[in-house]
Symmetry: C2
Subunit: 316 residues, 2 copies
Amino acid sequence: MDLHILDHKLRVTSISKTGLQQYTHPLIKLIFLRNRTRCKFFSLTETPENYTVVLDEEGFKELQPSEHLQVEGSTWLPLNVVSNGNTSSSSQAVGVTKIAKSVIAPLAEQHVSVFMLSTYQTDFILVREKDLSVVVETLVEEFNIFREEGGESVPVHSQDACNGLQRNGREVPHATVHPVLIPENQFCVMSLDPDTLPAIATTLIDVLFYSNSPKEGASVDQDMKCIKFFSFSLIDGYVSLVMDTEAQRQFPADLLFTSSSGELWRMARIGGQPLGFDECGIVAQISQPLADSDISAYYISTFSFDHALIRSHFCK
Amino acid sequence: MDLHILDHKLRVTSISKTGLQQYTHPLIKLIFLRNRTRCKFFSLTETPENYTVVLDEEGFKELQPSEHLQVEGSTWLPLNVVSNGNTSSSSQAVGVTKIAKSVIAPLAEQHVSVFMLSTYQTDFILVREKDLSVVVETLVEEFNIFREEGGESVPVHSQDACNGLQRNGREVPHATVHPVLIPENQFCVMSLDPDTLPAIATTLIDVLFYSNSPKEGASVDQDMKCIKFFSFSLIDGYVSLVMDTEAQRQFPADLLFTSSSGELWRMARIGGQPLGFDECGIVAQISQPLADSDISAYYISTFSFDHALIRSHFCK
């Protein structure tokens, strides 16, 4: 299989719930006005805690610093596994399950933190730029590794990246078992033709920027029987949306599409306290048992917690 | 003819060019999300100086005070002339021309300040609530006056409003002749089915909120050969748009409609220095000669200047 290091330098940020209003202007530009920005990688995920915004440096320039914006200090690079047909796989699973054993587990063993972003189209594995040499060294036996540079795929060899096989010097942390919350609402993973994005603009704006108005805030489910979770991404021209069935009903049914089976997904939110960005192995803990049972799963990391989406019929 | 005092209490405000970004959230709500607001009277006009926002009290609540928001201190009431067919008129003119002699001139003689807002559908004459008694007394001979209250039209008689024929005690000001600027761009006055507003949302958002990005700011026409002027209003469910032909090209041609003749309009901007809100007779000065020649004209007051729109074929 091929592993591509994509040509995006990403920042992972968080906007507070009360601060979203003042970021409406740049966010609407990044979502809807492609002619006005060079941003090619944009992801916005609403959770009960905050809005996680992952975006490239062109997009990051649009976000003015304020007390409402938290920025993780590192530059992150997205990795993407492309099955080139040479490696046969018996798995019919999709999402993070496909890469659990080949990517997630080895990186966890090398204590490399990953930030996962599954979309309708693919799964992005974000790693810190400074960990790249360890990543390459760890994965080079299993993958043909390419670095995307200005539209070209340049093969990467272990020594190119790691300058003498240096290893990640981090201590092996004590493996933490995090509490997992399984809310009752069901989710869909969807896409739409980016040219039809204007047709859902007012609905998407309503859901993203106005669904937390004080009126409705009063009815927020405090014990999170249903979780507020909505994810929009526009990456290299592809749109991906993750929303629960209640939000889905607000959108015109003829524009959004999902996989032919139209399956619904249940969520497992990982973490009782915010997870931070340094602990390794969280994705591995979740994805390996799913891979052992060949259960498809999407995985979306956010600023505070991780979220796995598992096909509803596997959840009892 | 009938004169209706509409059931809206209006505020006239101005948002600075640099402050628009922080008002994006409430303005988009007022323009596009009718289910989330009780605002029934909303008008936003961009001029080179600022954005004039005229809106009812429900809408005004959405605008947080800031250094970027100027608010005229009075409450204004919109008047609307309805031709009930009983009064024959030889005039084929539209817009402010129709009401120049019957409304504008008499109010100017009584030193009542008016703020004009012509739309595709009609012409609103805004007067200060505290001037209402003088307005009624001045116009009651010419009009059947009704006050709209909770959906009902209640007849108003002179003594109801003015409590003993008190007159506006203002001094007659020295009549000022204001400089008039006639930019070269041509304008269209248009409407669209409010149900199709979502279909032009991204274009309208782009034009209203992003067309002053620094990139384009550099090419702003400093001597105003072409003036930046764009007006959007959503009043009692009716949409009206005034834009120049360059802005018009950005919108899908099949959704916006104009009068069957599709005529273009030239603008006369009145005022060298900001006009303020207290001087009377400005609209009268402009509209009376037009009425004498039966020349149609729209008239849009903004926070700083007044703007008359006159059919292009009358402009040499």
